[in-house]
């Protein structure tokens, strides 16, 4: 399986929300729905507070429970990569994948009814481009690439910087990394 990863530097992210807007524009996500979002995490006691911004989305898990539990095969790994997609023509809208996602990263595509989610902009990845959110980031805190290539920027960053993933205890093996 080819592993694509997103590496986001929480030290340079300012939580501006451009990635969210870029995603909505690129993917024509209907009003009121979101494939990505930003979380502000504050820790400590005043005046010693630290704040971290995290741009969050589907983690395109290597062991994706949303793929495992889908009863029709609509939820699948794209072309033997870890990129998780939903085929609208296969989806019954049973919502099992929504319940199966520990990150609550899926949504019902109203009014059509099929399930929608972040695609890592696979249509751009196919052309060798970065996902829309990554390419629009004004602080260049977001990086995208293959973990199988030791020379890729994402591999290099994960070799040289401290990082974390969200709730790895789920066992889903998420592929969105946060540099800390």
């Amino acid at each position: 399986m080819t592993r694509f990863a997103m590496v986001i530097d929480t030290r340079t992210c300012i939580g501006c929300g451009d990635c969210v807007v870029a995603c909505k524009t690129e993917n024509k996500v209907p009003e009121g729905l979101n494939r990505d979002w930003i979380v502000e995490a504050t820790n400590g006691t005043y005046p010693h507070l630290t704040t971290e911004f995290r741009s969050e989305r589907c983690n395109h898990c290597s062991n994706a429970t949303c793929v495992t539990l889908c009863p029709t095969g609509a939820s699948h790994h794209w072309k033997d990569t870890n990129i998780v997609l939903v085929d609208p023509d296969m989806c019954t809208g049973c919502k099992a994948c929504i319940a199966a996602c520990p990150y609550d990263a899926r949504l019902v595509m109203h009014p059509d009814g099929y399930i929608d989610k972040c695609t890592f902009c696979h249509h751009r990845v196919e052309e060798g481009l970065d996902p829309a959110c990554v390419s629009s980031c004004p602080t260049r805190c977001m990086h995208f690439g293959s973990l199988d290539d030791p020379g890729s920027e994402v591999s290099r960053l994960l070799r040289t910087r401290k990082y974390k993933v969200l709730v790895p205890e789920t066992g889903n093996e998420p592929n969105v990394y946060y540099l800390i």
Binding site: E31, N34, T68, M90, K95, C101, Y114
Partner: protein
């Protein structure tokens, strides 16, 4: 201080601020699916054990309820689908790791088995309907064949019906993302609950006093087993890791405490248990009849409460400062 909150909009329907994707339609299906399983198992079991005299209703008339109840359940399940036109997609693949896929195919097998089960006792249970079918050569031959193979059909019905009853619980427990469902006890619990509701249905509908009493005794045992499974379920979660312990809080002081303990355990299990004990000792039927009604109610409440709590239990949850009503201002 440790605070994590959403600073951009996330107001995805059915997901924010808390997951609430499945409502009464799915709970009703889980309940009716369990009831169908119980009905088929008891009808088959009484046939296999040759209880025609002790349990005439269960052996000859009960089975007809199964496809009716199951069809109702599948209707409510269909109502829940968001992409209804693509419902046929359940049958264009088989996903071996998805209990929902197993369920879809089990349902497909259950129907013919159930019809054969009904035909094998139609002449004895519903002679007027059977005489209509007897008017046709094909009808007569099919019924002859089913009657000749009555025991084999019953033996076949038991494992398929048990699979139907248990899968509804496994379906929920397979969702590792929902800590409240992370217990292998859910499968057996839903199966036993389905059997209990079916026993209650017989206790309610059978005309022969001795048959009612037999199924009251059976139900008594089933309620005791169900209580034990509920206890195991609580022990299972309370000895789990942080998110399981957190999920359990919703019934130990949290928002679902009353509905779980009073409506499900109290009114749905303990009170009917006591009433059934009294019935065996000769309690007036007019009062005793409350017990099976409560068991049926408890069966539904179990599914609804499990569904509601499970969806709310989560690994990640962020408070949001976003007010969905702000969107409407765009249109003003």
């Amino acid at each position: 201080m440790q605070e994590e909150l959403l600073v951009t909009v996330r107001s995805n329907a059915l997901i924010d601020p808390g997951l609430h994707i499945w409502t009464w339609e799915v709970a009703m299906y889980l309940f009716l699916g369990g009831l169908t399983a119980g009905v088929m198992i008891f009808a088959a079991l009484m046939t296999v054990l040759r209880k025609d005299d002790e349990a005439p209703f269960a052996t000859t008339q009960l089975a007809v309820i199964a496809p009716v109840v199951l069809s109702l359940g599948m209707t409510t399940l269909f109502l829940d689908l968001e992409h209804k036109l693509f419902v046929f997609r359940f049958y264009t693949s088989f996903q071996v790791l998805s209990p929902m896929s197993w369920g879809a195919w089990i349902l497909l097998v259950i129907y013919p088995v159930s019809i054969l089960q009904i035909l094998s006792t139609l002449r004895a249970g519903y002679p007027q309907v059977a005489s209509l079918a007897d008017g046709f050569v094909i009808g007569r031959r099919i019924m002859d064949w089913c009657e000749a193979h009555r025991r084999e059909i019953a033996m076949t019905a038991i494992p398929f019906a048990a699979a139907l009853g248990i899968y509804t619980g496994i379906l929920l427990s397979a969702f590792s993302a929902r800590p409240f469902w992370s217990s292998g006890v859910l499968g057996p619990l839903f199966l036993v609950s389905g059997l209990s509701t079916a026993a209650a249905l017989v206790a309610l509908a059978a005309r022969q006093h001795s048959e009612r009493l037999l199924f009251t005794r059976i139900d008594l045992v089933l309620i005791l087993v169900e209580l034990a499974l509920v206890a195991l379920f609580i022990i299972n979660l309370s000895t789990g890791s942080a998110q399981h312990i957190e999920a359990l809080k919703s019934v130990t002081g949290g928002p679902f405490t009353l509905i779980f303990w009073v409506l499900f355990v109290g009114i749905g299990l303990v009170i009917p248990l006591l009433l059934e004990l009294l019935e065996i000792r000769g309690l007036d039927r007019r009062i005793a009849v409350i017990a099976p009604v409560l068991v049926l109610l408890g069966g539904y409440v179990l599914r609804q409460v499990m569904l509601d709590i499970g969806q709310e239990s989560t690994w990640t949850s962020y408070p949001t400062q976003y007010n969905a009503e702000l969107l409407n201002r765009l249109h003003d």
